[in-house]
């Protein structure tokens, strides 16, 4: 429950940042990495559902970017599923690749470009800005995630089922 509350607050704060400063944080550059981090943090169905709630809220505000949401959900689900095949949590943690969240964010960025390209070719600065912010947010979230594991702050509990 604490993890669910934490991630809901993280989603809310990501939405706040994107809504308050769209010039600094383009739509999705903070929220999509946050949702991706939630999925890879849990690597479970409940994590996916929790992230899905946030993604739905973001999609309500940005209805054009359904491709970004769908690609992120599918890519993250597939990549997290590969990690979830490990029988022990320690294996999951050990095998968790840094490339997985980054790859998921990059794939979702491809979906993000669909409505943008439909309106016209964007300038190169748009790509650089979005990717720099999005990948930076992803890296920061991954570092925080790994630090929380190393420092023993991560409870290995399914956020919805409560199983250890």
């Amino acid at each position: 429950m604490k993890q669910a509350a934490f991630w809901l607050m993280a989603f809310w704060f990501a939405l706040v940042l994107e809504q308050a400063r769209p010039d600094l944080f383009p739509a999705g550059s903070i929220f999509l990495p946050t949702a991706c981090a939630c999925i890879f943090w849990a690597c479970t169905a409940s994590g996916m559902l929790l992230s899905g709630v946030g993604l739905l809220a973001w999609l309500v505000i940005n209805p054009l970017h359904i491709a970004a949401v769908c690609t992120l959900a599918v890519a993250s689900g597939w990549l997290a599923g590969r990690l979830n095949r490990k029988r022990r949590w320690s294996d999951v943690r050990r095998k968790m690749q840094w490339a997985h969240p980054i790859l998921a964010v990059l794939i979702s960025f491809g979906g993000y470009l669909v409505p943008v390209l439909r309106e016209g070719p964007p300038v190169a600065g748009f790509f650089i800005h979005w990717l720099s912010v999005g990948l930076s947010a992803t890296l920061v979230l991954m570092i925080v995630s790994r630090l929380s594991e190393e420092l023993g702050l991560r409870r290995q509990v399914d956020v919805l089922s409560g199983q250890r």
Binding site: F13, L15, R21, G52, L59, V60, G77, V92, R164
Partner: protein
């Protein structure tokens, strides 16, 4: 989480999220998400305001002059576009208001109380003459009702309008658009009528010159307006002692020799003395007939509704 990793459950959850996203997108396409969107935006607005308040001052300070200049130029361009759009809309509204006010004046009681001038609205069917296809159509329709061809079609040049004997139109009635005269009825059949334009060489009407002084308009000399046959009109019968100038307006002196509302004919574009001691005045019509789609046929009607002319007290 680490008890029994279940890849199937994760796939199902992904599918659920995917389906939910599609549902949200479809709901947005049906415009049924506005209230939900407002709720979500309201939920983030407190934090958004706090972040904007904290970062607003800093962002203003950090903004370079070039960025500020670009922003100002973009704002200026946007305002200019909005201003032009408003000017266009204002002109359109002004024209509509002018047209409606003129029409209202025509439709309202005018001239003597005993006689009113009413208008019969009509559509322009064709110009400058009745086409063969329409002629055939009328003849076929009339034949089925036992009518002769002479009562169905009209000859001549001008505008063909879709009102005829059934609306009590008779030759000589003035035809206007708004309050500007474009001609008069020259021939009437059962369903259509022919309009002789003011620029036609056979057209003539009594007119009066109105001078537009700085303070108010003043009526000038009366004369006879005639068509020249080349898209213009001329006014004859104005003695050289009368004051005439380019830019003066030409209004009707009467309607079918009845004192009534002043109808507009056009503007003086050339005024010179001729050898006969009269002004040679060229008038440009106020309305281009090629652009007219709807017209009004003006005709006098007796005002017997009030009863004050029936010998009452």
């Amino acid at each position: 989480m680490n008890s029994e990793p279940n890849n199937t459950r994760l796939g199902i959850a992904t599918a659920i999220v995917f389906a939910a996203c599609l549902c949200v997108w479809c709901a947005d396409q049906m415009r049924s998400l506005e209230s939900v969107r407002m709720s979500v935006l309201n939920s983030v607005s407190p934090g958004r305001l706090v972040v904007a308040a904290i970062s607003g001052q800093r962002s203003t300070d950090e903004a370079t002059p070039d960025l500020q200049l670009e922003q100002l130029q973009a704002d200026l361009l946007t305002n200019e576009l909005q201003r032009r759009q408003l000017i266009i809309e204002n002109a359109q509204l002004h024209r509509q208001l002018e047209h409606l006010s003129r029409l209202n004046e025509i439709n309202s009681v005018s001239g003597f109380d005993l006689v009113e001038f009413a208008s019969v609205p009509a559509h322009v069917l064709s110009r400058p003459e009745i086409p063969d296809s329409l002629r055939t159509l009328f003849i076929d329709a009339g034949a089925s009702q036992g009518l002769r061809e002479s009562g169905l079609v009209v000859d001549g040049t001008g505008l063909v309008i879709d009102r005829g004997e059934r609306f009590s139109l008779v030759p000589g009635m003035k035809v206007t658009t708004g309050r500007a005269v474009i001609g008069r009825i020259s021939a009437v059949s059962r369903w259509v009528s022919m309009v002789q334009l003011t620029t036609d060489a056979d057209f003539s009407a009594a007119v009066q010159i109105v001078r537009m002084d700085s303070l108010r308009p003043s009526f000038g000399a009366r004369g006879l307006l005639e068509g020249t046959g080349d898209g213009l009109c001329r006014v004859t019968g104005i003695p050289y002692t009368s004051a005439v100038a380019v830019g003066d307006e030409i209004f009707s002196a009467d309607i079918d020799q009845i004192n009534g509302p002043r109808l507009y004919y056009g503007r003086v574009t050339r005024a010179e003395y001729n050898e006969g001691g009269e002004w040679e005045i060229v008038v440009t019509p106020g309305v281009a007939p090629d652009t007219v789609e709807r017209v009004d046929v003006i005709h006098p009607v007796m005002n017997t509704a009030t009863g004050q002319h029936d010998g009452g007290p």
